[in-house]
């Protein structure tokens, strides 16, 4: 497989709407905006599944003002017009779900992110580490998870927008595979371990 850049990305709902929310910290808003801009410029496909799309619609309706919603929809329409939107309609893999639940608990939303990633380019971006750290913990028992590259909006070392500039073999992206744990997330969480892999 040619060593290429990330071509598709499952993006958590909070990351998507973060850029237009006034109540978000400016730094987070900018990172979210930069990511969406980079996805458009670099033609990175935005991947959704039914469940994520439903959740997105609900959050847009509940959390955004009409003006914020207009701005969000503008990006969505631009992405769709250019064929940069992909809705995954996959069969539910009950076995995979069971294995993840065994170690990870009933975090349905995280499982949707994983399923969409496995059905597309195996890259996910979420807002913080609350989803990926528990998944890291079960990655040794669930081999499928080991192939997923997990980006985090709050990662101060590699912003998701910058990650889209990297080749998939780049050590910075390699380190973000669930199989390798998440030192960058630990740092984000203030545990002080740092990026020592």
């Amino acid at each position: 497989m040619p060593d290429e850049n990330i071509r598709s990305l499952v993006v958590d709902t909070d990351v998507l709407i973060c850029s237009v929310r006034n109540d978000e910290a400016p730094e987070r808003r900018r990172r979210s905006k930069d990511l969406k801009d980079a996805m458009f410029r670099r033609r990175v496909k935005w991947v959704e599944c039914d469940a994520l799309e439903k959740q997105l619609k609900k959050k847009v309706a509940d959390l955004l003002t009409p003006n914020q919603e207009k701005m969000f929809v503008s990006w969505e329409a631009v992405m769709r017009s250019r064929g940069l939107y992909s809705l995954i309609k996959g069969e539910v893999d009950s076995d995979l779900r069971a294995r993840i639940r065994q170690g990870h608990g009933e975090r349905e939303h995280d499982i949707h992110l994983v399923e969409a990633a496995l059905a597309s380019g195996r890259c996910v971006c979420s807002g913080d580490n609350s989803a990926c750290l528990p998944l890291c913990a079960v990655a040794s028992e669930v081999p499928e998870l080991q192939t997923i590259c997990w980006l985090c909006l709050d990662d101060k070392r590699l912003s998701p927008a910058n990650a889209l500039e990297c080749k998939l073999s780049d050590p910075q992206l390699e380190r973000r595979k669930l199989s390798l744990g998440h030192p960058f997330n630990l740092e984000v969480a203030g545990r002080g371990r740092g990026d020592s892999l």
Binding site: N22, K33, D37, R43, S74, R82, G83
Partner: protein
């Protein structure tokens, strides 16, 4: 050269022309030959910013979009030049520079120029399809002395192209010819000509053989280069009888000429909105000149005839929120006044007369939109309608709804060519496709851009069934997104500053 737009010419016959010593010939072979077909492509090269030969694929709804001065109008202008040339029957010369549609005062203004680099040839052509396939016919114009002449004519079909070349240095009205040997030329002639054209040649040969058994069998293809819409003649000559017999065997522009005559042009500049409109006879002359000069007369005619077209027009007006009724009255023997309903829709039971207001007293949106709405309602069959900036002076909601009107017209069979900067109109078309109300095959998206030398190129997009245009460089929507992002940027920066200050 734009390779994508050029036919893959494997067998190209380039013909050197000579001047006919005695051009006073009169076709004496029954001259009833006419081609037919649908115009599918417009071809322009060497014209203004269109340096390379560029092809515009026509669809029932053809959208021309791009930045200012990207060349959107330039792709249509050569055909408007031809139109005003046809409309000025008495004009001399190959193209009329000054007319109702476009305005030039020097031939040099027509040609591509970049610094000292100037195009020697300007090409105007078209592609049309009939039951036998697609054929492209192109005139190449050149300036000779102080005159514009047809330098050559190209007829291309499949992988073959025949070019009839005018010999350099001859006067405008000279007739260019090429000797054609029957056997040697039959293969290449047949590769570019239609079957009935070849039959026509064979009939002429038989006719010649019967008339002049002593002749040497030499025939000449003649290019009448004095007009843009050239015809090709076969002339039979011998030493004894110098070119006594002739026959038109090919009219390369036979399909383009009526297409251009019937083209309804609604320019972006609709001029000052006057209270009274000069009455003009309509019918086939409605496409003569620019359409805002005729639309009031068309409306008056419809009202008088109680035409169903008025209903179509009013439905479209209502759809766009521009009123639900239109009326006309003859002010005197030469002037017509147009009235539209005062409110978007009558709901209070008021009478028509109370509700009507002169077009001169309405907003510019209504008065600018009405001519193109009338043009679309008037168009018959595949008649082409070229609308510049249909969105002019319209509220975004009306622009959005205008997409439905354009789609309606395209579905009715009209060839609608729209030049636009409206992102919302485009989104409206995408929405109709995604809803299954408009076949994406009916829509052609063309993005015009210029390179560093200033040369224009067109990027076409094929819309998918869900209304996506994929990797098309069109930036109408993303400009809005960028503007919003810039606002977000500014807002975030200000907020960060304030937080820091705090």
């Amino acid at each position: 050269m734009d390779q994508e737009n050029r036919p893959d010419v494997r067998s190209r016959s380039r013909v050197r022309a000579e001047t006919l010593a005695h051009p006073e010939f009169a076709p004496d072979f029954s001259d009833l030959f006419h081609s037919n077909g649908n115009v599918e492509e417009l071809i322009v090269g060497g014209y203004k910013s269109l340096r390379d030969v560029t092809t515009l694929q026509l669809r029932p709804l053809t959208i021309l979009a791009g930045h200012n001065t990207s060349g959107k109008s330039s792709i249509m202008q050569p055909f408007l030049l031809l139109k005003q040339t046809l409309e000025q029957e008495s004009s001399f010369g190959v193209l009329s520079l000054e007319g109702a549609h476009v305005h030039f005062n020097r031939f040099q203004q027509l040609f591509w120029k970049n610094g000292s680099e100037v195009a020697e040839l300007m090409r105007i052509g078209y592609g049309y399809r009939n039951a036998q396939g697609l054929r492209r016919c192109t005139d190449a114009f050149a300036i000779t002395g102080n005159e514009l002449v047809v330098a050559d004519v190209s007829i291309a079909r499949g992988n073959s192209e025949m070019v009839l070349e005018r010999q350099q240095g001859h006067a405008l009205d000279s007739t260019s010819i090429k000797s054609v040997r029957r056997k040697a030329d039959s293969s290449w002639l047949e590769s570019v000509l239609w079957r009935d054209e070849v039959e026509r040649i064979n009939q002429f040969r038989e006719h010649v053989a019967a008339k002049d058994t002593a002749g040497d069998g030499r025939m000449l293809v003649v290019l009448d280069g004095s007009k843009a819409f050239v015809n090709l003649y076969l002339i039979y000559g011998s030493e004894a009888r110098r070119y006594p017999l002739s026959s038109t065997f090919c009219r390369p522009f036979d399909v383009l000429e009526p297409w251009i005559r019937s083209l309804i042009h609604v320019p972006g500049d609709r001029g000052t909105i006057s209270r009274y409109h000069r009455w003009s006879p309509v019918g086939v002359r409605a496409s003569f000149g620019v359409f805002q000069d005729h639309y009031a007369s068309v409306l008056w005619d419809w009202n008088k005839q109680k035409s169903s077209a008025t209903g179509v027009l009013e439905e479209w007006m209502l759809k766009m929120g521009l009123g639900d009724h239109v009326q006309t009255r003859k002010v005197n023997d030469v002037d017509v006044e147009v009235f539209v309903s005062r409110k978007p829709q009558r709901s209070d039971g008021s009478s028509e007369s109370e509700d009507m207001v002169s077009i001169a007293d309405t907003g510019l949106g209504v008065s600018y939109a009405l001519p193109w709405l009338v043009a679309l309602a008037l168009a018959d069959g595949h008649q082409p309608v070229y609308i510049e900036e249909p969105e002019a002076h319209l509220h975004p909601e009306a622009q959005y709804r205008a997409a439905e009107v354009l789609a309606d017209a395209a579905r009715r069979g009209t060839t609608v060519i729209v030049e636009t900067h409206s992102d919302i109109l485009l989104v409206g078309i995408q929405r109709m496709i995604a809803q299954g109300k408009l076949d994406p095959e009916l829509v052609g998206l063309n993005w015009f851009s210029r390179d560093e030398t200033g040369a224009t190129s067109i990027t076409r997009a094929e819309l998918t069934a869900s209304g996506e245009f994929g990797d098309w460089p069109g930036d109408l929507d993303s400009t809005l997104m960028r503007a919003q992002e810039d606002f977000l940027d500014a807002s975030i920066t200000r907020q960060a500053k304030e937080t820091g200050d705090a």
